[in-house]
């Protein structure tokens, strides 16, 4: 029973992580581009490094969690333990995602502040 749960769990978490990562990679680019005042080469480099770091962190953590799994006997426990673990990973991803967005928001605010209202006296 445990091996079935592991396989299902790994498929679910890897799919979710890769999908979310790709989403962030595509939609976060314009923010970094704004932060760096339109320097495209640097933006793509930073974006790719961030994506790699994100994959390493999350896939590593998801795979590591397998070591702490209790022994499973029934079909109901298979579903409940998979869902509990995937739920944990999803909440972790959500937390990381919102922290990321907050940091980008702060940075862009700090970056923009001196130029947003220009008084010329």
């Amino acid at each position: 029973m445990n091996s079935i749960a592991y396989i299902l769990y790994l498929i679910a978490t890897w799919l979710i992580t890769v999908h979310v990562g790709w989403n962030l990679y595509k939609n976060g680019r314009i923010y970094i581009l704004n932060l760096l005042h339109g320097d495209e080469a640097l933006t793509d480099a930073i974006n790719r490094i961030l994506l790699t770091g994100y994959y390493l962190l999350n896939l590593g953590y998801a795979t590591l969690m397998i070591t702490q799994w209790q022994t499973i006997e029934t079909l109901a426990t298979v579903i409940s333990s998979i869902c509990g673990m995937v739920g944990n990973i999803l909440l972790l991803l959500a937390a990381i995602h919102f922290i990321n967005m907050t940091v980008i928001f702060w940075l862009s605010k700090k970056n923009k502040h001196p130029h947003s209202i220009t008084l010329k006296y």
Binding site: V20, T74, S80, L90, L91, F98, M101, K120
Partner: protein, 132 residues
């Protein structure tokens, strides 16, 4: 392999929760595009990117929470208690989703207000002579 009532409960709970989350997220983020365009003053690319990022976060948070609260730790004995447990879980989750929806709406309205105030300020400043 015996299929207990717990198993039945999970099988009912999961699709219901997934559909609920999808429906709320779909409605919310289809209509939030207008807000985003207002907030970013019509810059489509960044507005839709932000919308997508919020949507991803919304899905992650709510599905994660839904999966986390799914487990029924004891054996469900009768059909009656199955229905009671299911309705408590799904009802609780709907209330949570509703609260999340209103928090999101509040954020959108707030962003729009701030953006409007800023553009008004910029307009007023540009009318001061010698400051164009």
């Amino acid at each position: 392999m015996n299929t207990s009532l717990n198993f039945v409960a999970y099988l009912i709970y999961l699709p219901v929760v997934a559909m609920l989350t999808w429906y709320v997220a779909h409605t919310l983020f289809k209509n939030s595009k207008v807000f985003m365009l207002d907030i970013f003053k019509g810059k489509e690319e960044i507005a839709f990117s932000t919308n997508r990022l919020f949507e991803t976060g919304f899905y992650l948070l709510n599905l994660g929470f839904a999966l986390k609260i799914m487990e029924v730790s004891y054996e469900i004995g009768t059909n009656r208690s199955l229905l009671e447990i299911l309705s408590a879980k799904i009802g609780g989750f709907s209330i949570y989703l509703g609260i999340m929806l209103f928090i999101n709406l509040y954020l959108f309205f707030r962003g729009r207000k701030i953006s409007k105030e800023r553009s008004k300020l910029a307009e007023a400043l540009s009318k001061i002579p010698g400051n164009s």
